[in-house]
Each structure stands twice: as structure tokens, then as C-alpha cells.
Amino acid sequence: MNNQSIAPNETMQLHEILTFKNTCLTKALTMSPLVSDEELKSILQQEVSVSEKHIQELRSLMEKSNIASLEE
């Protein structure tokens, strides 16, 4: 097996991180309109854009892994 492919244990880690990041992004997005302090609002909004990039990268790694082919 090509050692550049994604191993099953890595896929599980990616799954864990992706799940975590999805809830983080959802929370930052839904909480930021509720915040009154502008500085905190800006921190949450930066988190939204950084997390969006992270999630896209994690998703493309997951799509390359073997579990993507298990999807029906």
C-alpha cells in the first residue's frame, strides 16, 4: 500500500476533528450576533472564517480516504 494514502486510524482522527470543528463553527456563527462587545464579536467572526477553511481542508482529506468509497 502506498504510504501516502490515508490510513484508517488517520481517517478516524479526521472524523473526530471534523465533528468538533463543525460544532465550533456552528457555535461561533450563532453566538456572534448575541455578543455586545465588538472585540469579542470580531474574535468570533475571525474564528468563523478560519474554521471554514479548516473544515474544507479536513473534508477534502476525508474524501480521499477509504471510507469515502463506503458511502452508498
Partner: protein, 101 residues
């Protein structure tokens, strides 16, 4: 948070603190989760992406923890002050359940 929710929950000006604290806890978990994932990674591509994202997670943690120290929500160098904040927050939290009973 908007006035209606504030008065309903009795949290008033606490909400920024609650949201900031929740975000700090997430930021800490993020750094820990990435560090664990990197120790399980074997391919160059996965490791490179996780390492880069770990750096971002560390920066996010730095931003929110500095913010909380500036605001006095988190007093790493003054335990007495931190105790006061902890007890005030605890009273507010326990007060929430009373209001709803």
C-alpha cells in the same frame, strides 16, 4: 444578548462572559484534539494540514485568553480575584435554575 432573553434568563450582562468562556474552553479543546490527532497521523499530507491547523488553533487560544485577561474574566496572576469571579459566576448560574422553577 437581546433584552428579552436577558430578562428571561436573568443573565443580564453576563452573556458576553459566558460566550467568551465557552469559546475559551473550545479553543483549549481544539489545541488538545489537534495534538492528539497529529500523534496518530502517518501520512505527510494529513500531518502537514493538522500541523498548520494546530498553529491556527494555538493563535485562536492566545487571542481569546488575552481578551479574557484584559476583561478581568480570567485572572491568572490574582487567585483572590479569580475566586471572586468564580463565585459570582456560580451564583448567577445557580440563580438561573431558581428562576425557571
Amino acid at each position: 444578548m437581546n433584552g428579552l432573553i436577558e430578562s428571561l434568563t436573568g443573565m443580564s450582562k453576563m452573556t458576553d462572559q459566558v460566550i467568551a468562556t465557552d469559546f475559551l474552553i473550545s479553543a483549549k479543546s481544539g489545541v488538545q484534539n489537534y495534538a492528539v490527532a497529529i500523534t496518530e497521523s502517518t501520512s505527510l499530507e494529513v500531518r502537514a494540514i493538522l500541523k498548520k491547523q494546530l498553529q491556527d488553533a494555538i493563535q485562536t487560544h492566545e487571542k481569546i485568553s488575552n481578551y479574557m485577561m484584559e476583561k478581568g474574566y480570567y485572572n491568572a496572576y490574582d487567585l483572590g480575584e479569580q475566586y471572586k469571579v468564580d463565585m459570582e459566576t456560580t451564583d448567577t448560574t445557580l440563580g438561573l435554575t431558581k428562576n425557571l422553577k
